[in-house]
Amino acid sequence: MIQLEINDIQGIIRRGYGTLEAACYVLLKIDNSSKTKKWLANLANRINNGENKPSSTDKCINVAFTQLGLNRLGIEKAYDREKKFSIEFEDGMVTDHRKNILGDLNTSDPKHWEWGGPTNDSIHVLLLLYAGNQTLLEELYSDEAGQFASGGVSQIKRLETHFLPDRKEHFGFRDGIGQPRVAGLLDKHKTDLGKNISTSVLQEGGSYNNIIAAGEFVLGYPNAYQKFPNSPKVKKETDTDDILDIDETGAKDFGKNGSYLVFRQLEQHVGKFWNYVYDHSKLESGEIDKSVSEKLAAKMIGRWRSGCPITLSPDQDDPTLKDKDNFGYYPDDKEGDKCPMASHVRRTNPRNSPLQRKHFNDKEAKNAMVDANKHRIIRRGRAYGEPSLDNNGNPTMEPDLMLKDGNTGNRKVGLHFLCFNANIGRQFEFIQHTWVNNPKFSELYSEADPLLGEVSDAEKNNGVFGDFTAPGDLLRTRVRRLEKFVDVKGGAYFFMPGIKAIKYLSKLHL
């Protein structure tokens, strides 16, 4: 019987640490690898694992590495022949090919990035620090930073986060609602992960199913294809203290209980977004029709600002549904009359909706669900940058007030997007290329993701980007020439190893 080793998996993979409202991410480079190994030996004991559910007085640490960082620590010489990390991780986020896949072009080009780009310092280690409030976070940070010098690492950048009211992101929408339920992390499903979990046992009824094989997120366990995902293995003799587990073939599995962490700093142009929405919601008098603007924005996102899915409440917001994640698009909204195919949440997770009209039937809806579930990620991002304030000086996410705030244009705000997956190519990059940036998603013609899509190449590409269509009862509503509301400002692929693997690294002497 295969079960998840939850106490070896780092805690942030399992939980978002919602009780810990303060967080920062520290980017480090390794100056002296033997000192760093000693630091890691000690750090391994302070890492929060998946068993511990933190309370608001806790401080939590998690750690991840880039390929360059792991190379510094000697992993290249330890590999068991060709059994290395995936090529996406090894190459990193910035290659010519990957720019096409991720849509990191024009204003999002890595050459303009603040970190992780070709002109920035190389990053080796990412330290994720979480605490119940900012004071506790600063305590935690200074404790940790105090050990950097003796640990042979130096800080490249500290990235701040800001907890926004009602768990919103900066455009004003509640975020982080749709998440996969990981088989093996759910108590009621103490399932043998070696068995096919996509079969009826875990089917939640109908064609909608949100329970995903653990191997889609954590290496060392069967994935959606009932195969063990590619995982880096190391030579037996490098593990002198016999720390690592062996895999199904008897090789030492360095990747086990680890996960690939995708980190992107997404800067959001709040003023641009709401001005666009308002400009396209005007009555003939020139006045803005708020019912139209709220609805247009909700159609673009796929959820109302409260978080309520527009497919379940198509005419107005219903805050009682703000955390609703257990729903499908088939059969009630199969054509996208309520939640457009092109909307952000529908294209980043199409759930059980067949992507072609001629496949609209129950069997195809089940197939669509199985297919969509091969491209899931666990999201753990947090907003950064101060929100606007209302007249009483309290943070506000109301579009009118955000637009009135003269500083909205100047203040840099956005999302530190973090997600976990076991196969960057099939999960994160697929979502980014085949769903988000694909103007031909489903049966569309020229509609990239209205929020994230790379639309600035529209002229060059015969205008195939930048439209947004919301089907209606009779005629569709189409808005054109979407602007670029989000720019990438930094990013890297990390690997977040299991805790035993970190201990192994700390003892890796070649």
Partner: protein, 430 residues
């Protein structure tokens, strides 16, 4: 314009003279970078109106059982096209329009005549053409000209709807039939688009029955089947011990061709792998091809090949005197999603073909398993991918689904009176 034209696939293999490969590669690289923007480009693809897609690939290596490439004894240039109408008309057009390019390129190949006449060039192309194993067309019967024109027609109507959805009071009257009539009037009054009011030609009955060579493949499959079954049972015993691709991560070599890949909207792929040794393997492979060919002509006629909706054209060709199998595809999605469809949607058909080639992931009964070993399969495909030197597409911003939807828009426009329900359905296409 004929509204219905059948599509063909030409694969032309010209053996390259020794020592000429590098120079030829240079010519092709230059062509690849210039043909869209430079009027003096030696091979003006866009002026050859019968071409949907075309590519030049220098084939000098094939992927072997040792998970590495072997050099071919006789490297060749693969010039492949997907075209409208008859093969001879198509070849004549190439000869007419691209004689300079042909001379410069095929100069480096055996048997290309010195100072050739048009007739010589035509004969040369005829001579080097190879037959394909199996061939799939996404949007069947749709000519390049029709695809392009109907694409523009849709945009014209979309703009008209944008301009009028508020001012004409369409939403007040709530009458789909009336809106459709308004649209028809607009199209009728446009000299650029009034052709579309006429119904497109019907598909000829003869074509429906014979579907080019589809019927021949059907007969071939039936004739081959009994012996194929015997071979299948014999080979089947070996499938547990055949070598499989050892890695589940991409080969470094993949980086060569990934740089030009995954752009919006269309992509291409050329794969080349050794066929497993033995007469039985080749016999089986040809039987599977006859089966796929028959299905592609008679069953997969609605834009999908075994459930994969993104393929414009794809074909397999046996090359290198029966030793290697080449796969060439023009598709409208990302590499990752295309390969994902190979696994999730069309696994059995592809496994039926590729289980006869070296290092294919472990199969069961030669049809099951195989590509279902997802990471290994993708890495195997990546490892055998060869770089396409020149690639041309006649309509880079359309997918198969777009083409078929444009066709429905045009047919709905040209149709007679529609019921309220029908008119509503038609308006949903916009």
């Amino acid at each position: 314009m004929n509204d219905f034209v059948s599509q063909g696939a030409l694969s032309m293999l010209a053996k390259i003279r020794p020592g000429s490969i590098e120079e030829l590669r240079g010519i092709l690289k230059d062509l690849d970078q210039t043909f869209e923007n430079n009027e003096k480009a030696i091979f003006p693809f866009r002026d050859i109106r019968s071409i949907h897609f075309a590519r030049f690939v220098i084939v000098d290596k094939s992927f072997t059982e040792e998970a590495t490439f072997r050099n071919l004894n006789e490297p060749f240039l693969m010039f492949s096209t997907n075209y409208d109408g008859s093969e001879n008309d198509h070849l004549h057009e190439i000869v007419e329009v691209a004689s300079d390019g042909m001379d410069q390129i095929f100069f480096h190949c055996y048997e290309y005549p010195n100072s050739p006449s048009k007739k010589d060039r035509f004969r040369f192309l005829k001579k080097i053409r190879a037959t394909y194993g199996a061939f799939h067309v996404g949007a069947q019967g749709m000519s390049v000209a029709r695809i392009q024109k109907e694409g523009k027609l849709r945009e014209f109507i979309q703009d008209f709807i944008d301009q009028n959805s508020n001012t004409k009071g369409w939403s007040d009257v709530n009458d789909p039939q009336l809106i459709r009539e308004d649209i028809k009037d607009q199209v009728r009054s446009s000299s650029e688009f009034n052709w579309s009011i006429e119904s497109p030609d019907r598909v000829p009955i003869g074509w429906k029955l014979f579907r080019r060579t589809g019927w021949k493949s059907g007969i071939e499959m039936i004739v081959r089947l009994p012996l194929a079954l015997v071979f299948w049972l014999m080979i089947r015993r070996k499938e547990k011990t055949d070598k499989i691709y050892p890695y589940t991560r991409y080969d470094q070599r993949a980086k060569d061709h990934t740089a030009r890949e995954d752009k919006v909207v269309q992509n291409e792929m050329s794969l080349l792998v050794d066929i497993k040794k033995g007469f039985r393997r080749r016999f089986l492979l040809k039987t599977v091809f006859a089966g796929i060919e028959t299905l592609a002509r008679y069953v997969f006629t609605k834009g999908e090949l075994g459930g994969i909706p993104t393929i414009h054209f794809a074909r397999w060709v046996i090359v290198d005197e029966g030793r290697a199998l080449m796969f060439m595809s023009n598709y409208g999605s990302s590499w990752e999603s295309y390969l994902g469809d190979f696994i999730d949607k069309a696994s059995k058909g592809l496994t039926g073909v590729w289980s006869n080639t070296v290092l294919y992931p472990r199969t069961r009964w030669l049809l099951w398993g195989g590509s279902k070993d997802e990471e290994r399969f993708k890495c195997w495909a990546r490892a055998q991918q060869v770089t396409t030197d020149v690639w041309y597409t006649a309509y880079s911003n359309l997918t198969v689904k777009n083409i078929i939807q444009n066709k429905q828009i045009r047919e709905g426009l040209a149709a007679g009176r529609m019921s309220k329900q029908e008119a509503t359905e038609w308006l949903k296409l916009f």
